[in-house]
């Protein structure tokens, strides 16, 4: 007699027609655990696997590598740059930091580049760059659901902030190239934030207080690179431990720039390509027409009092103040150990009493909060430390600033006495 099996589908077991035993039931939970485990292993292992295996490249001397960098003429490239900075600036509650305050101050709802530069000072950002010869460049900061782009195309410089739908327009000085001053083309621009520019700046500062060596090879953005290690000589007081530049073995383009503090730990500045392509950027990359309804700010002409929105006027006033302050600027020491000495007029920073409502008293109260009091032959003062730059504000209004350790600052202050 045929068995009576009410509404049962014969199946391969996967479709679970037989009620599974207790053990089988428990075994099923192995599936999600296994999936999670495999995922965790993949997440853990893949970066480790990817980072192994530094490329084998023919040996090269530091001198050869530097000249290779100098000879590099990659005119066309595009890619993504990741920039991570950790200056050790005290952060404020809410995840902000002093650098953010600066950015907010300069914000003013305009798409002017200065405020965006301030944002790069802290945290981690992704930039996308594209270059096609000296006349066409593009840098954009990838933001959350928004982007800030600077586009240089011939005589035009545009900045577009999609977050506020506003644009900033300036004309590049025509004679800038004749002067051979590349950086003037995009004044106050963001290009300084790419590994190339940083490498250029550092190499131009190399002198006899510096050790330059080729320290192995690495892989950056899928390309083989030599690591150029630049270090201050042993007896230096600098807070900078080393600068490491990864140079593309093929065409000499710096791909990664890392500035590490002597105190160890995370790099202070870490800029590197995560993706790079030395082909011609897509047509249209450097075209920009301000979208309908976007607010366009023209660059204020230097020296014009009628510049819009207090921009120029405020700047020039600031500039005069700064000039007044800078009149007392002297640099002592050389190379990595340079200390800038700044004599503030009238000993404005003298009162260290906290609680002043505003003005210098309040400012130095704030300083006292961040800094540490030190004493020396020069008298007493406050040292404000970040991971890169230390500053000593003495009671009689002198300021010593440098990328050197605290003792070197005190030494400089004593010497100045």
């Amino acid at each position: 007699m045929a068995r009576i099996r009410p509404t049962q589908v014969a199946d391969d077991g996967f479709w679970d027609e037989e009620r599974p035993s207790r053990g089988k039931k428990a075994a099923r939970y192995a599936a999600p655990v296994a999936v999670a485990g495999i995922a965790a292993a993949t997440i853990g292992l893949v970066p480790a696997l990817a980072s192994t295996g530094d490329p084998n490249l023919p040996k090269i001397s530091a001198q050869e590598l530097i000249s290779k960098m100098a000879a590099s003429d990659a005119q066309q490239m595009s890619g993504s740059v990741k920039i991570t900075t950790d200056l050790g600036i005290p952060s404020l509650p809410g995840g902000g930091s002093i650098a953010d305050l600066g950015g907010a101050q300069g914000g003013d709802a305009s798409a002017a580049p200065e405020s965006k530069l301030m944002e790069l000072i802290s945290g981690s950002h992704t930039l996308r760059v594209a270059t096609d010869g000296p006349e066409k460049q593009r840098v954009s900061i990838v933001e959350n659901a928004a982007e800030y782009s600077m586009i240089h195309n011939g005589g035009e410089i545009w900045a577009y902030d999609s977050g506020s739908n506003s644009a900033f327009h300036a004309t590049a000085p025509k004679d800038a190239k004749a002067k051979g001053d590349h950086r003037r083309e995009m004044p106050k621009d963001l290009r300084g934030a790419t590994p190339q520019e940083m490498a250029k700046t550092v190499l131009s500062a190399v002198d006899d207080t510096t050790d330059v060596t080729v320290d192995g090879t690495s892989r950056v953005a899928g390309r083989e690179a030599y690591d150029l290690l630049i270090k201050p000589k042993q007896n230096s007081d600098s807070t900078i431990g080393s600068v490491r530049i990864a140079v593309d073995a093929d065409n000499g383009v710096p791909l990664k720039f890392t500035l590490s503090p002597k105190s160890g730990g995370k790099a202070i500045i870490d800029v590197g390509f995560t993706k790079v392509d030395f082909g011609k950027p897509k047509a249209g990359t450097f075209d920009f027409t301000p979208p309908k309804g976007a607010k366009v700010t023209e660059e204020p002409k230097a020296g014009h009092k009628d510049a819009p929105k207090g921009f120029g006027s405020k700047d020039s006033k600031d500039f005069k103040d700064a000039q007044g302050a800078l009149s007392g600027l002297k640099v002592v020491g050389e190379g990595w150990d340079s200390v800038a000495r700044l004599d503030t007029p009238g000993g404005a920073a003298a009162p260290t009493t906290p609680g002043g409502d505003s003005g210098p008293g309040g400012a130095s109260g704030l300083l006292g909060g961040f800094g540490k009091e030190v004493k020396g032959k020069f008298g007493s003062g406050t040292v404000v430390s970040t991971r890169l730059v230390n500053a000593l504000v003495t009671a009689d209004g002198k300021v010593f600033v440098g990328a050197v350790d605290k003792d070197a600052l005190i030494k400089a202050a004593n010497a100045a006495k």
Binding site: A2, R3, R5, T7, Q8, V9, A10, D11, D12, F14, W15, D16, E17, P20, K24, K25, R28, Y29, A30, A31, P32, V35, A36, A39, S80, G95, G107, D108, A109, T126, R128, S140, V142, N144, A145, A146, E147, S149, W158, Y160, D161, S162, G163, S164, N165, S166, A167, T274, K282, G284, T285, D287, F288, T289, P290, P291, K292, G293, A294, K295
Partner: protein, 315 residues
């Protein structure tokens, strides 16, 4: 049509002839339901879900949001000034709002950005949380299991329905905002957030891609909701837990001290859909988002399977 009747409709697709006296052996499988029948189960599930007043009300609310945003922006800018012109700190507003007045298609992106953090996951959480637990709560689950579908197939049908609902909910938001945007604001060439201008057709394509990405961003929480739904017999409890998880995960995502776990929270890359509006498209986070959602689907989908196939159905 009552719920029980609908269930009967669902069952009419069953090839009943297949079961008469077939041996339980595994060699020949004459009685294996054909794939089309599995589709029928999914179709009936989807129809039942979409015909519920609760679902319709939720979709109605979703459709209302773009209209409200559109009208609000229209009123705000009707005096001729740009959006946020009166305020100092433009750019601090929600994503894509300043562009809406100049191009209606940005209403699609703005609405999706506005609904993705709360409304969409909430609606999906309600549907997903109700999927199994709701049936158990109303006592229909055991009747559903009497049908020769098997628990895995039923779960798959529920899962597919929930996924389809993610897409439907997203499309409701996208289409209403597109229509509202077209009615209230001008359309035309679109300046992408990288400052590059593309034709309206390409922008429409990208908008479609954005909608697809938003729908895919929701599959993670939908699967989690389905898993929670297999844990309890109370539909309300499952919905509340799912929606609560959405909120908790987003709060955790804003705490900087927990940055180590942020990349593994399902809402972390939600707003990455905006990367489709860059030129060239910035794929990194899009890929991460899809990978993360896939991971959630794999882990919680298999957990839901393990739980549901091993569960004692008491209600």
């Amino acid at each position: 049509m009552s719920r029980a009747e609908e269930r009967r409709v669902a069952d009419t697709g069953v090839p009943r002839t297949a079961h008469t006296g077939a041996p339980a052996g595994r060699a020949a499988n004459p009685s294996r339901p054909n794939p089309l029948w599995a589709l029928a189960l999914f179709r009936s599930e989807l129809a039942i879900t979409l015909r519920r007043w609760r679902t319709l009300a939720l979709l109605g609310v979703l459709a209302l949001i773009p209209i409200l945003i559109g009208i609000a922006v229209k009123i705000e800018t009707s005096d001729g000034g740009g959006f946020g012109g009166g305020r100092g700190g433009a750019g601090e507003g929600p994503a894509f709002f300043p562009q809406i007045t100049n191009n209606g298609i940005f209403l699609v992106f703005a609405s999706l950005a506005a609904t993705l953090p709360v409304f969409l996951p909430m609606v999906v959480g309600v549907i997903a949380g109700d999927a199994i637990a709701g049936e158990a709560g109303s006592g229909t689950l055991r009747y559903l299991l009497v049908a020769p579908a098997g628990r895995t197939r039923l779960l798959l049908a529920k899962f597919t329905t929930t996924m389809a609902f993610c897409l439907i909910a997203t499309l409701v938001v996208a289409l209403t905002s597109l229509v509202t945007g077209a009615l209230l604001f001008p359309l035309g060439d679109v300046t992408l957030i990288s400052g590059i201008t593309v034709s309206f057709e390409e922008a429409l394509l990208r908008a479609l891609g954005v909608a697809a990405l938003v729908a895919l961003s929701l599959v993670g929480i939908a699967t989690v909701g389905l898993f929670i739904s297999t844990l309890t017999n109370s539909g309300i409890a499952a919905m509340a837990t799912t929606v609560g998880l959405v909120i908790t995960a987003q709060i955790l995502d804003t705490i900087p001290q927990l940055h180590a776990i942020h990349p593994y929270l399902f809402p972390h890359y939600w707003l990455s859909f905006a990367d489709l509006l860059r030129e060239p498209v910035y794929w990194d986070e899009l890929v991460k988002n899809l990978g993360l959602q896939g991971l959630y689907v794999a882990v919680f989908g298999s957990a839901a399977w393990a739980r549901f196939t091993a569960k004692d159905i008491t209600a």
